[in-house]
Amino acid sequence: MTAEPCTDFPRIAPIGLDGVIVQFGPALSEVANRAALAFCAAVERDPPEGVEEVSTSLVSTYLRFDPLFLSLEALRADLDARLTHEDWYAAPLPEGRRLLRIPTVYGGDFGPQLGEAAEAAGLSAEAAQRELSQAQVRVNAIGFAPGQPYLGTLPEAWDIPRQAGLTPKVPEGALVVAIRQFVLFSVSAPTGWRQVGRTAAPLFRPESETPFLLRPGDEVIFDSVPAEAWDRLSDDPKGGVTVEPFA
């Protein structure tokens, strides 16, 4: 893989009065996402004074700052120096990442669009389920709703479009697929992605000691389990999820 996915990147752009993003690519790629995660971790370790919060999206690191304390020009200069100093496209992913195995019931009532998604990917339903359940994917970003991960990158065949219409409602725990990514829904919501399975993973439990199950950069395998396992999984506060240190 080349070090520079695009010559116009990385680039710094303001978002509102009190934010900037450092964008590492124009579209999701493994290398742009890795750079964003690595840069975010580095800024978090040594934040410029006046920076109040850092976060990542699919291809960017976001910094929220106090614009009356730290000027955009000064912040830009600081970030420029950091970008020049190190090749973030070649940087390793941050340490402390984990591998989570999330038991998933595929197909049937739990994944009503598995067949449709498999067809779009040019696979049989069985082959599709096998590929999806064996893929080890990275939490590229958490967003939209609390604890809700965007995971990738799935094999090439899964570069399937979102469906034309919206599914009015998928349940909490729905595993949906499109454009070589999974989204695992932390809330019941409408979506244009196709639901292939369902998990009982507790993505967001505000009352628990660990309210958020996943962190950006974690790796996940959505292991296939039979439908009969569902009752046991949904009774388990951990949803059958196992967590182990990774890399």
Binding site: P14, G16, G25, A27, C40, L68, P146, Y150, P206, P216
Partner: protein, 333 residues
């Protein structure tokens, strides 16, 4: 423990505060009071630091405390009575033990605030007490709910203030955002010329505004990569009608953004009731910074003054005598 009891609640009554920053990376937006200025005004009228308050979306409800407590009423003006006697909005009062406070619909604006002296003694969830409905944190309040009151060190009431006028729409100052340049010049010119009406669709996440003329839809907008969202962002979904986002917005989004309303004008966005007219104007970063400095000065130095009671105003006098412990019955005997 002393508490404020909800006897009846409007459809959008929640506990709010300054929100919970720090969880963006995990998908949880800041949230907190839709009108931060009203929260600060409530605190100033009680001479306490900003804390928790009840946010009343469009309509209040009926409330009663089991001990005498201080309250302040700020934000969207609503008709308020204490045991049937009118109470001045934008002022602090004593709510006698057992007396019924009734707060009706907003006369203008959207969000009214009922701040108790000392705030509510509620446990923090993820570092704040505010309801974040979209995230399932906290919930809408309903009849029968009892909100524990924290100890109140203050004594003073009978203060009032002149609120910054923000309840009737108006001009919103906008900074360019990520995709501003993707909108054709004609659209950007039209965006700052035409009037928009606050649509009926809107909540704590954001408000939809409808243009007079055709929409602002972009065809290439479908392919932009999902990016971090900040309160004030003006997203243009497929139907071309802008959505102005507020503090409880989602954390990321893939719709193109034509600009971002500056923080100082977010109270005006939140308080724009359906049908109210809004306009947009692009400003330079220098102008936005100046506005921010002014906004923070205003938040930190809200001027309050004694509420002068008109002796001819009998209902108000009645509520006043309740405060000093003399019952209305004795007053009239």
């Amino acid at each position: 423990m002393s508490a404020l009891e909800v006897l009846q609640a409007g459809p959008g009554v929640t506990v709010q505060d300054g929100g919970r920053p720090g969880y963006m990376a995990l998908g949880l937006s800041r949230g907190g009071a839709a009108d931060r200025l009203a929260l600060a005004e409530g605190a100033a009228l009680l001479r306490q630091p900003p804390g928790t308050a009840l946010e009343l979306a469009g309509y209040g409800g009926r409330f009663r405390a089991d001990v005498a407590c201080r309250i302040a009423l700020t934000g969207a003006p609503m008709r308020a009575t204490l045991e049937g006697a009118p109470l001045t909005w934008n002022a602090s009062h004593v709510l006698p033990a057992g007396a019924v406070l009734e707060i009706g619909g907003a006369l203008s604006g959207v969000y009214g605030y009922l701040t108790p002296g000392g705030g509510f003694d509620l446990p923090e969830e993820l570092g704040a007490r505010s309801a974040h409905l979209n995230a399932g944190l906290g919930r809408l309040l309903e009849a029968g709910d009892r909100l524990p009151l924290a100890a109140d060190k203050g004594r003073e009431t009978g203060l009032t203030l002149d609120p910054v006028d923000r309840f009737g729409g108006g001009l919103l100052r906008v900074l360019p955002s990520l995709q501003t340049g993707m909108f054709p010049e004609e659209m950007r010119a039209r965006f700052v010329e035409e009037r928009f009406a606050r649509d009926s669709r809107g909540n704590r996440m954001g408000i939809r505004v409808t243009p007079e003329g055709e929409g602002y839809g972009l065809t290439e907008g479908q392919s932009i990569v999902s990016e971090v969202i900040t309160p004030g962002d003006i997203q243009i979904p497929g139907d071309g009608a802008p959505y102005v986002l507020l503090y409880e917005c989602q954390t990321t989004g893939g719709y193109p953004r034509i600009g971002t309303v500056i923080p100082a004008d977010l109270p005006r966005v939140a308080q724009a009731a359906p049908g109210v007219e809004l306009r947009f104007r692009f400003v330079s970063r220098a102008e936005a910074l100046e506005a921010e400095a002014g906004y923070r000065r205003a938040l930190g130095a809200i001027a309050v003054r004694p509420l002068v009671r008109d002796p001819a105003d009998m209902p108000d006098l009645l509520s006043h005598s309740l405060i000093s412990g003399v019952t209305a019955g004795e007053e009239h005997s």
